[in-house]
Symmetry: D2
Subunit: 426 residues, 4 copies
């Protein structure tokens, strides 16, 4: 890759880094990506509702929140036409290169940021290099700025190559809340894909290391549980109350006590609780935010059904009403070894790559699995590619940063793989 | 009272003490009482099913158990005719004195013993005096031998007096399991009573003290809860099991967590638990014996309904089937002050009485409450009379014994009260 | 009482009602009371730190909060000299009438308001009568405006009478948080009292009814429990976390499961809980606000010790650190029947009194018990007097209001009792 | 293998099947094995305490139980000399073939039976074939009769071969209670082994299938927990009791709630509970039998430490004393691929073998892991070999049976492997 291309990647990544936007609020980010895609020139360019099934979105914030970020994006210089097309939390984009006969290959990158306050430390490059977050309290602390940049870079590289076939690059919103993957998967644009590649940078792999096919995606369901009882004076009329906090406590205890499963790993967490109004009042209302996971989608379903039963029974036990609402979820998935083999082979020839792993476990959840499952269910192949990068702080911490050398490596590996697939379909 | 009468009381009490019989197995005891009543001569003498509503009995043992004690009673010398009439756990008796115009007064005494092994200590009078229990493992450890004796004594004393009216003495089985009171109350022989007196000896009151109207009866419900799940190998297939022990544990925790009530005292206990078959097997079955109580019948009902909900919800929570069965219960009751006042007044003139209390709290449960409520619901008066006795060991312990001087005191107070009621109905 | 006096009581009560101030922030209220006392003329007048043991205060807000109300009181017209003397949450006052030989009698009234938003309904007299709360979000919803008014009225009435002896009227802050009673009790001004009277208006008794000696004070302890664990990613490293929410849930369940006590009523409540930061993070911290009560101080201690053990064990069980801090507490107390008898006798002659009860149960908690116990421990007598008032809404609700006719009745009963005590010490 | 050898294997297996003996009571079994070994002729023959470290035994029954089975074995025809040497639960044996220079190879087979009542169904071969269990209530329901038989067969086959080296065959008692493995591992006879082979028949693999190196052994710890409180009358003095059943219930709930671990599978079970004496008595004592497991020994330790904390904290929480005692345990282990490769290679040439698996997961626990770890820690290799057999009923069920054709297959595979190791040490 030429230096000028490298510089452009860095420049784009830093601009995105300065304007981190959380799930469904990626207005500036989408605008900036659209501008890059138009610069490159693509055969088709879809935005927001043209890419997504809007009804399949999960964890969408309320209108006030969406509007506030819409205004903020305008102030930051987002284009009016893109802002108009994405209003209401309908962010993201998809670009198509149509280069004649050949396979249809998809690349999915995610673009949203996190509600984390970025470090101001002098050893934190974005701070010392003057591209620290302008949106105080929010930060690209998981490298999605690099993902979006690589997506643009791959598209440009393939556009300039002899690739035969069709390339679709998906810029997906709302991955951090597991909210966008399903909407893209059901948007209708995956159904002609022969191959799908998705990527993640870092994951504790150093710059120069490539994981050809990441596995170990835990299927996940996040939920909110609400317990409604009845308040009463705890001294005078303790039994006139129906205690939502007792229901909550019984639920928390028994959620963790859901039996382990012989078929594989499961997880459960009650991450946030709150309830009640005063020391001497029987609590009328209590609330929990929790999640269950499973090594397979079936195991997640097992946990999910048991969790529902626990919550409902805990409410009934204490004469309260219990309600559980799924806020987000994602299935498990597996990378196809055949496709991963191509990635690995190509990576072997990429400058800067000095280590290749066939596979490694994510040990967490990702909603790229919706897209992978969709493609695989139609006979296509999918692989989730890990692109190593030296990152000083851990993912989701204030000092997370990427080694910008990995941008070009990522573009070269992915563009190379896509070109190879055009030559020799798997 | 003449010395010969006193001697007869002592002799009868000691004979009953030698043959303690637990609930619904009072075959020898009934036979001995019948013999005494025939000796005295009464106007009517009903036995077992003639006194009880057999279907209203609670906590009846199985036939094998009943038959074994039937045989044992025969061996001890019980009369064949009485054995025949009481077969099948239909024990107890009622005697009637019909002495013309006047009020109808009832006296209720209970006659059953406890599954406690009696002390063999040289300072335990029944042991040193050679009238220790012949039924090893069973013992009159709550003074019902004295109660039955007083019942006979009162009948004899009233028979010899100028009493005007009708006296019915009820010899009730199965008080210790709260199993007999309802059956007597529904037997039909209480419905013409103007006054009901019931008695208890001891209760930490010394010889010579009379409590004219005991109160503070806790209404009680005893129950068995069963949890049915499904077994599985705990190592290989832990989630294929449905764990009855988890359901049990959740139930126990939440039974105790039933909210206290602003209207008065409540109680809850999970007294016996067992479940499971092996360390490495998910338990298919678990079982609990428990109870709830309340200062009033309404409070007992509150606890009872909450307990049912807890048990059912705990079962549902762990995917088990839960079942609750009431094994015995008794309501609360209150002694009538007007009737108690007569008792107290009469007691003031009885030799040996040196202390009188208007009232005191039982702090436990008694199924005499069924009879008291029945009589009171028809406009009659009832009082539960405490007859002090020095008792070396506590109630329900192996060294419990009564001071036999209290037998005559009890007879004099009760017979005197009944005679007074014949003269001056309250 | 003359009409002009009645009018003055109503006018004072309405002024206090317009400026409700919560615990330890009664700056305006204290200023207004001081002004009234100076108008009447007393032999001694102490303010704030002169009355209280400042170190014995409980549940004192932080300085910012105190300062904000200090400013607000100044704006409302509170006197600078009083504001200076009460700065830092050292509110309240005490007035002394010294009328020669005779008993020393204390009267305690409380003066703080509640964080409740007052009704604006047209049928709510303060709203339609233009004396609704000026401090939005706060309200005299328990009648302490009337208590302070009666305190002033009694002092004025006694000052004008032939009373022989010494009268101390205590205007106590911070009763609603059980925070001020101990500070007054330990302030040193109770130690020469022969008699103490405390009052409460309403309590579901109608205008014209007097309860001569309220009983049934539940001893109470309020506490905050904190659980500190360690956060971890719930999907990737669930066992690296030490879950503060699990500790909290175990504690809540087992607090309610503390065994009931045979000696009398107990209470427990976990009224407020919160913990955790995100669905997918093991919670590092959780917090509970709760309370225990007992029919006697001993029963409260029983509950309190058991609660400490439960909270500490729940923390240990889940490898967390647990801490419990008492935020407020109050003992139980009993009104002296001899003193209550004087109240009742006097009340019998007061115009407007048409019903007298010797006693009734409060069924809640009150920190007047600190003062009552202090006086009784030194051989004095104490009684807590209930002054009926028709109140449309319940205590602690937005529509609570008092029938202003009860102000004069209260003054007449209390002043009459104090005068009688001067004549005939009990 | 010649038909006469096959017949002898079947005859031996059937004899052992007729006399199933549970853990540490394998008196007849040991006697019969010794007789076979003497018939074959070995270079050294150790029995019971000569093989085991007696102090390292776990889960040994009490003397009465041991003596009863000692008598039973005598009645069945066990030899007096062997009975004498094994008295006191010191069962098992080891035979040595010393054939000059070459590797030292060990083979471990287990010999104990289960407390399961064998099927009498006509389609159950032992029943129709007249070799059903003579020890009613006990049964070889896991194929250890076949294991012992194969051990004898392998020794005979190797004795007749040109094997160069030393062979030790260990006949281990008490595998079913995880009680014997440690005692053999610490008996001192493993320390010179170059290779260790252990076997299990069945495991849902059909006749003709060989698993060269079984993996997935869950490390396990079985324990008994005891809770000691104090009894009290649940109606009269509920708070005087310290409730062992509440402690038990809290422990059960929180054992299951031990957090899952990110490093691999864990298990927990509370398999047996019992406590209390009567419905109306606060339980003085409660007891639990449970277990924890982990995919690795470290994970088992994690669970074990957490379980101890839970049990102790639950006891403390309810003012009881808690005690946990380990009754049995076993580590995890892994088969060495290099050794398994030899097994697989040899098996490829054995008549009757038609399927070979390199590895498969046990998904349960086995105390052969003690022996495997011991050998591996000294630089030796170990493999746990699965020998398929068609079994009509599942392991540990009344209809379990083995396909006797698998006896010869097992002998051929193992003897062949041992001979091959003599030729070409790994």
């Amino acid at each position: 890759m030429e230096q000028s291309s490298r510089d452009r990647l860095v420049e784009l990544r830093r601009d995105l880094h300065r304007y981190p936007e959380p799930a469904w609020r990626e207005y500036y980010t989408t605008s900036r990506i659209v501008a890059e895609l138009e610069r490159i020139g693509v055969d088709d360019l879809l935005v927001g509702p043209e890419v997504l099934d809007a009804d399949a979105r999960m964890a969408v914030p309320d209108d006030d929140e969406l509007d506030a970020w819409h205004d903020r994006a305008r102030d930051a210089g987002a284009r009016s036409d893109v802002l108009e097309r994405t209003r209401g939390g309908l962010t993201g984009a998809m670009a198509v290169l149509d280069r004649g006969e050949g396979p249809t290959v998809g690349l999915r990158v995610d673009i949203d940021a996190l509600p984390i306050t970025e470090s101001t430390g002098s050893d934190h490059a974005p701070a010392s290099g003057a591209f620290r977050s302008e949106n105080e309290g929010y930060m690209h602390a998981c490298g999605h700025d690099a993902h979006a940049t690589i997506g643009v870079g791959v598209l440009e590289a393939v556009a300039e190559s002899d690739f035969q076939g069709t390339l679709k690059v998906f810029f997906q919103p709302a991955e951090e809340v597991i909210g966008g993957g399903r909407a893209v998967a059901e948007g209708g644009h995956l159904d002609d894909l022969d191959h799908l590649l998705a990527i993640h940078i870092g994951l504790d792999h150093p710059t120069g290391e490539i994981v050809a096919g990441v596995d170990g995606f835990l299927a996940v369901r996040q939920f909110e549980a609400t317990f409604e009882g009845e308040s009463a004076h705890a001294g005078g009329h303790p039994a006139q109350g129906r205690d939502a906090i007792q229901a909550l406590a019984t639920a928390v205890q028994n959620l963790h006590a859901i039996r382990r499963h012989g078929d594989g790993a499961t997880r459960v967490n009650a991450g946030v609780v709150e309830g009640g109004t005063a020391t001497n009042i029987v609590a009328e209302r209590a609330h929990m935010e929790g999640e269950v996971r499973g090594e397979t989608t079936e195991l997640k379903e097992y946990m999910s059904e048991r969790a529902d039963t626990v919550i409902e029974s805990a409410a009934t036990m204490h004469d309260c009403e219990g309600a559980v609402e799924t806020t987000a979820e994602a299935p498990s998935a597996e990378s196809d070894a055949d496709l991963a083999a191509v990635v690995s082979e190509v990576a072997g020839d990429v400058a800067g790559v000095d280590s290749r792993l066939d596979s490694d476990d994510l040990g967490g959840s990702e909603d790229a699995t919706y897209l992978m499952n969709r493609v695989q269910s139609q006979g296509g192949l999918a692989s989730f590619v890990g692109i190593g990068t030296d990152h000083p702080g851990g993912h989701h911490t204030p000092t997370f940063d990427v080694d910008e050398r990995s941008l070009a490596i990522g573009v070269d590996v992915l563009a190379g793989t896509i070109e190879r697939l055009g030559e020799n379909p798997v």
